[in-house]
Point group: C2
Chain length 170, copies 2
């Protein structure tokens, strides 16, 4: 182990960094860059586990860190991104929709950590849901996507995260 | 157990809600309300565990959910609050300081979940560090606190979270 264990955890922390940077871009109303930051975080998130297993330093600490970072990058950051770029047009209901997405993401992650099933997922992973939301915001910078679309899409993804849908691992 | 288990988890989720609401206030440059939201989240955070133990429904799910919500409410929300209200005056270095605070918070939480020590804490708890930062921002709305003060204070709290300081549980 030794210093090798630091490498995958650095990748995980860069996922968190990108999530916070996305939030900061959302604050500055730079929604396209905010969406791209989330998609970059998704790439980091796909790498950390693989690196850890390859270096044979997969740890419980790494798993815990990973799900903490995931809530920020794929729960909170996309929720505030979709609220800032679209849902705030409908006022408090828009904020409630964004909050529901983040809450369902937190429930999904806590449930996943407790269930500890290894061959499939129960409910759509938060990484997938958050990245899809970011992708939709990115598409909306080119194509007109209505607030109604974003409301329904956000709620649907929130539901799918806490649903009992069996999702195969790839 | 039954439906009683829902009650403490609802309190935990309200902690997350307040964290996201704080981020939203920070986005709107309403720093005082953003700071108050974090302090309210702190109260919720003090209650959930007690309620769970009193109702005898303390669960691993609840513990996981709690630390996920803590990273948002006491790591990311205070970091962006202190950046928005003060540190952004010094540009990218200010953002880096805020990011270090959130990263150390994530490491603190992941380490705490893995160590699972029950009679004391190793390192200052993120709830305490995040609330102190929010309190400082609140005070700064009345008293002039310099960017230098916030830079040093934020880095000090970040360090204390990942330090090996033994903190008694109260």
């Amino acid at each position: 182990m030794g210093t090798k264990i630091i490498i995958p955890n650095m990748v995980t922390l860069s996922n968190l960094l990108l999530g916070i940077i996305s939030l900061n871009y959302t604050m500055n109303e730079q929604y396209t860059v905010a969406a791209i930051s989330i998609l970059l975080a998704m790439m980091m998130d796909g790498m950390d586990g693989k690196i850890a297993r390859k270096l044979d330093v997969a740890s419980n600490f790494g798993k815990q860190l990973d799900s903490l970072c995931d809530l920020v990058s794929f729960g909170v950051a996309p929720a505030l991104l979709v609220y800032g770029s679209s849902l705030q047009a409908i006022g408090p209901s828009g904020l409630i929709i964004a909050l529901i997405f983040a809450l369902c993401g937190a429930i999904r992650l806590a449930r996943f950590n407790v269930l500890d099933i290894n061959d499939h997922f129960i409910g759509v992973p938060i990484t997938f849901a958050g990245s899809l939301l970011a992708l939709a915001v990115l598409i909306a910078s080119r194509l007109p996507l209505s607030v109604l679309f974003f409301s329904v899409f956000t709620l649907l993804l929130a539901y799918l995260m806490v649903s009992n849908l069996k999702v195969p691992k790839y």
